[in-house]
Symmetry: C2
Subunit: 385 residues, 2 copies
């Protein structure tokens, strides 16, 4: 049906009506006093969401642009960096590092498995000459639904002392606890079309004092992504280049909504949605791609047996107007991914699971008792309150 | 009054209601078949607007990001380039070139005066060793209201043979004739919040075959702004990174509106608005900053005498809710700039001139006969059909 599209992908995520309507306002001049007030409010509320007093910068880029800025502003060609690579996005940061002449050492894990913090500990402990300049981690690996153990890996980085910790929090920020100041995360990048509940087009970066010190010696050339220009402007409630005015109208509203819900409630909601989705998949006999102990709060990847992943996606789209994500690269056609990030509630998850049950019947799947998925999800949701 | 803001600045420019409402639609997945159709439509219509069969690429960046991409994709550190600098933006491309290690030679003109094509001719003719790799021109210099003579300068570049011509068309594209194929412009960059009639957040670039050949030897490191990735994706009606979905909904509608109006009509409208504005300023005894023969179709800069530029801006804003732009850098407080770019009609120009006349009376200005500005503008508008 027209206009019935339901987004259950890891981004763009659904956008609240009040945010959409805010974005439909006439733009105002980005150099006006009225817009300065908006930048000030957004910066303050983003710091609240990021749990940080670090600088919080807004860039007109998508997530990859934000991560590139998070890397190139603090390093020089030839610098040795460790990149965690257990999926499409970890792989991307490795490519970015290489594109800018960094000496990239990958710490890999099979797609679908979390990175092993012990490998980071050993590498960092062995580096007595302190040649490792940065460790780059994808917190929630969107391509596989794996949440890497950032907290433990970061402990090892802190013990090293010299290395920066640079985090892709694109699908973890606003979904699971990422206490930037408490953990001492140096650079954290994310994108608007995820936990922030607005459409794509705005990149967010937090920068620590330690990272700014590294900036002074960093020699990768940059201009549009030069974060010092953003800091100088943000300190004056301004922007160095033209910002995406209407997206920022939307962000004003979405951050107000998030403050009302509260961080703890937001994280609890995402945990509940994740558990309900995973319980349903298990009850339906559909193998989960990531283990329970490393489950992303943003997305659940499923590798079905006895039924075709693409047939599931296709029927879900055609019959129920539900968009699920497919697999990327070698996982294409082998997995489907259910997004439960941002403006997603319990009704949405039940709808998706119910439609999936119906789809499985349509496709003649015989691996589960009909209704078992909803029953399992409901038992998770029943535990609340 | 609340919600009465009228934008008469060079960007963001006013946005049609139908575009705003299109932007308020729920986003869909940018990897879906439905979105591919949108990319295909946008690419075709943008090529129409750009009068080109060259590749036409959309990036999630503001204008500066688009121009950076236009520079760094086709050059290597140490390359000799000529940059026309007669305003804030010409100056910026010089800074970008230097940031990336290019050997920048500026050809300057006083702010408010156009670049002299003869200086380009002489420099290019003297370069018998063909060491000049690119000439970079700001077509419409937004900071001063000067339209540089791109056509003539480009003729000299063509006679040189080796050099690329790279154009900042941010406030000329969609306002004045920029026939990319006819003139053979290699790289042309622009931004969405100008002639395109949508809010900021999308950068546009056209790339010629000659530029793609230069790309093969270009050695400035890049990833997010690597245009080959955009070309590969665009050839498949896709995008390499997450695009600003909702802005692109808006662009769909605005391009449809522009096609309906027609290129000739759009250019004629901008010319009329420019002439009416300039006639009014002259009649009011307010000196124009740029000469008639180099008048930007996007913006008219005025350097008033006998009345304070900032007082005019302030009264226009407070009493009439009209936003005018001020001067930048050393022109701060000395000029005001009236934008007449994009979704601006004849009524808007008359409104702004009438409000300016009222403002001049409020400020006790005695340099003109009351009503002379409107009379002069009307005489221009009366000449039409």
């Amino acid at each position: 049906m027209q206009d019935k599209n339901m987004l259950m992908i890891p981004g763009p995520t659904p956008v609240p009506e009040s945010v959409l309507l805010a974005m439909a306002k006439h733009p105002i001049g980005h150099r006006s006093g009225d817009f300065s007030k908006i930048i000030a409010e957004l910066t303050a509320n983003l710091k609240w969401l990021h749990q940080t007093t670090n600088d919080l910068l807004m860039l007109t880029v998508s997530g990859t642009g934000a991560m590139e800025a998070a890397i190139i502003n603090f390093l020089s060609p030839g610098d040795r960096i460790l990149v965690g690579n257990n999926g499409k996005f970890g792989e991307r940061w490795s490519l970015v590092g290489k594109a800018f002449g960094l000496q990239v050492e990958e710490i890999t894990a099979e797609w679908g498995k979390p990175l092993d913090p012990e490998v980071f500990r050993a590498k960092l402990a062995a580096d007595t000459a302190k040649t490792i300049k940065a460790v780059i981690i994808t917190h929630s690996e969107t391509s596989t639904g794996v949440l890497n153990d950032l907290e433990t890996i970061n402990t090892h980085v802190k013990n090293h002392g010299e290395s920066l910790i640079i985090v892709d929090a694109v699908t973890s920020l606003g979904a699971v606890n990422v206490p930037i100041d408490q953990w001492g995360l140096d650079v954290v990048a994310s994108g608007s079309q995820k936990g922030y509940m607005i459409p794509p087009g705005l990149g967010l970066i937090s920068v620590s004092q330690k990272a700014w010190k590294a900036y002074e010696n960093a020699k990768i050339p940059k201009f549009y992504l030069d974060l010092k220009a953003y800091k100088k402007a943000t300190d004056k409630d301004s922007s160095p280049f033209t910002p995406p005015v209407n997206l920022m109208y939307g962000l004003q509203v979405s951050l107000q909504m998030m403050k009302k819900e509260g961080l703890e409630s937001i994280f609890a909601r995402h945990a509940r949605l994740t558990q309900a989705t995973r319980a349903a998949m298990k009850a339906l006999g559909l193998p989960l791609f990531a283990p329970d102990e490393a489950a992303s709060p943003a997305i659940t990847a499923v590798m079905p047996t006895g039924v075709d992943a693409e047939a599931i996606r296709s029927t879900m789209k055609k019959q129920f107007d539900i968009a699920l994500a497919g697999g990327q690269d070698h996982l294409k056609g082998k997995i489907f991914r259910i997004g439960h990030l941002g403006f997603v509630g319990e009704r949405d998850i039940l709808s998706a699971i119910a439609a999936l049950e119906s789809t499985l019947q349509t496709l003649g799947y015989e691996g589960a008792t009909p209704g078992a998925g909803i029953a399992a999800a409901a038992s998770i949701l029943a535990k609340v309150g």
